[in-house]
Chain length 157, copies 2
Amino acid sequence: MKTDYWITNKPIEITEVVAKVTRPEAGAVNTFIGTVREFTKGKRTLHLEYQAYVAMAEKKLAQIGEEIDQKWDGARTAIAHRIGRLEISDIAVVIAVSTPHRNDAFEASRYAIERIKEIVPIWKKEHWEDGTLWIGDQKEKQSYTENIPAEDDMKGK
Amino acid sequence: MKTDYWITNKPIEITEVVAKVTRPEAGAVNTFIGTVREFTKGKRTLHLEYQAYVAMAEKKLAQIGEEIDQKWDGARTAIAHRIGRLEISDIAVVIAVSTPHRNDAFEASRYAIERIKEIVPIWKKEHWEDGTLWIGDQKEKQSYTENIPAEDDMKGK
């Protein structure tokens, strides 16, 4: 894997993401791992389905890495997000940020997951016991009962 | 490995630590990975040596996990710390904390690394180009040119 920012339909290996940011100058790596949770507000999820506009999503992940470069000196970032069908406890996203000192690693990793929710065109379809719903990962402001928005509608993002 | 808190002289597998806290109730895992940094304030480290009073160190790691249980609802914690000789970029410590919601995972993981530095009897011997020094991981307040303190002196900690 050449890139440090990728969307994949295969299980994400945490060690692969961490390896991309490990280096002699850094003493700290913070990793955020998002997994599929079974219960949300008492409602049981059976499984999830993620869809993304892959090229755009990878571009946005790389943009988040650049934003982190600007904000935290000497940071290096890698992000992998899975799409397709995921079962309970499967890994949906792995963020790894290495920095010379640990405080920055925590802050930058935290920044990355919030930005993913804001700007990356990825949707999840919740399969509950009593129905399904597409939910935008963009702060989950909008839900879609039938389908995610068309890619053309996303160009302005 | 039965315990969730352990000292080891073998390489730490990140996935093993993360697996201990992954569960259906948790949607977030934060991982802090401490690696051996080559340069500290312009001084080059060749390699490091960690020593610990193992039984006491493992007890203190478990105590940190209990403290996290008290402070963050539904958190689960696992911590592994390596001892012996470590090369540049080797993993010295891995903390994993899972929580239902991500904010808690970041905070609890951050708490864990600070507490490790405060209360766990682990020392590192820096091997620089121009000499060596034992440094207590306890906030690095005290250095020892010859040896780490005797275990008996630690009992009151």
